[in-house]
């Protein structure tokens, strides 16, 4: 178990960060982290990594899969952004709305939009990968990314 604990300690930040970007709440992200490491510990014997970074890529893939599975279980809680947050921003002074930072804007996206943005733009997954992970089509992934960027643009303003 010592070796597995070392893997946990080395990757807990990476796994939690990725899970937190996809999941709505910190609690969900913690659960995803636990599920991920359980899966990693269970399957690490059959992992055949080739080249540097392959373990990281595999662990991230498990994390994404677990987080997206959780989203699917929750039926996506379909809203494109939190209504209360949207109202709050609309009531603000327009200049204040323009200063909405990227972190906050990202948090306002729906879970699946945020997942697509993060997996594509940050983790470097292709639309084919995302479609496969989410059980959707490639065109769904592309249109989600486009919609998400249009929303981010409107929330962040031209000055971001």
């Amino acid at each position: 178990m010592d070796a597995l604990e070392q893997v946990y300690r080395a990757y807990e930040g990476t796994v939690y960060s990725l899970a937190r970007r996809i999941c709505r709440s910190a609690e969900d992200a913690e659960d995803v982290m636990q599920e991920t490491f359980f899966e990693v510990c269970r399957s690490i014997g059959s992992f055949r990594g080739e080249g540097p970074g392959s373990l990281t890529a595999w662990i991230k893939r498990v994390t994404s899969s677990k987080a997206l599975m959780r989203l699917r279980r929750e039926k996506y809680r379909e809203t494109d952004e939190l209504v209360e947050d949207g109202d709050a921003v609309a009531r603000r002074d327009p200049d204040v709305a323009l200063t909405l930072d990227l972190e906050e804007a990202l948090g306002r996206l729906s879970e699946r939009s945020r997942a697509v943005v993060w997996l594509h733009d940050v983790e470097g997954y292709t639309h084919e990968d995302i479609a496969d992970l989410m059980g959707m089509t490639v065109s769904f992934s592309k249109s989600q990314l486009a919609r998400a960027h249009a929303r981010l643009k409107s929330w962040l303003g031209k000055e971001q």
Binding site: G13, Y16, E30, M33, F37, V122, K142, A146, H149
Partner: protein, 196 residues
């Protein structure tokens, strides 16, 4: 000039994909080129967001889950393999039970009870109970039996020093043999369960 690119087309151009028509348009249109640059900046800003640290250490939960699964898997893997061993042990236990039944019908003899108790002690040592992983339930049963044996031993010690009657000693040795027998049975069953 052709109409501006859609967001989907701009993203495709940013990612080095997209149609040749879209690429040509971006090359010629300052508005769309600026938009592609902006999308590059957004991606760079996203990548630059700080990592988030987990608020709690979940390793104890993960470890417990992994250990529990390993125990379950070990049981499943040894379950089939130990069927023959279990059958053989069942035969041994059955024969011993029949022997004990016969012994119970005979008048109790102090020397034979002491001998039987020693034989059971030997049998218990053969199972090497201290090296086995036990379920909580088995461990609890064993602890209760061992406590009761320790109590009988204390009573025997007291009886021998206080000059108790032979009938009292026979009674205590009978109790000890009975408890020892139960203790060995728990270990035999447990050994069959995990494939020896």
């Amino acid at each position: 000039m052709a109409p501006h690119c859609t967001m989907e087309e701009l993203l495709a151009v940013r990612d080095g994909e997209g149609t040749s028509v879209a690429h040509r348009h971006v090359d010629q249109c300052p508005t769309c080129r600026a938009e592609v640059d902006r999308l590059h900046q957004v991606a760079a800003a996203l990548r630059a967001l700080p990592a988030v640290r987990p608020p709690r250490d979940r390793w104890p939960e993960v470890r417990a889950q992994v250990l529990a699964t390993r125990r379950r898997r070990r049981w499943v893997m040894t379950g089939w393999g130990s069927l023959a061993a279990a059958a053989a042990l069942a035969l041994i236990v059955g024969v011993r039970a029949a022997t004990l039944q016969q012994a119970a019908t005979r008048p109790a003899n102090l020397d034979s009870l002491v001998t039987e108790s020693q034989r059971l002690e030997e049998a218990l040592r053969a199972y090497d109970p201290t090296s086995r992983v036990l379920s909580g339930r088995a461990a609890s049963t064993i602890a209760q039996l061992e406590d009761r044996i320790a109590l009988v031993d204390a009573q025997l010690n007291e009886a021998q020093h206080s000059g108790a009657s032979k009938a009292d000693l026979v009674n205590l040795w009978q109790q000890r043999v009975q408890l020892m027998n139960q203790l060995v049975n728990v270990h035999v069953t447990r050994a069959a369960y995990v494939g020896l």
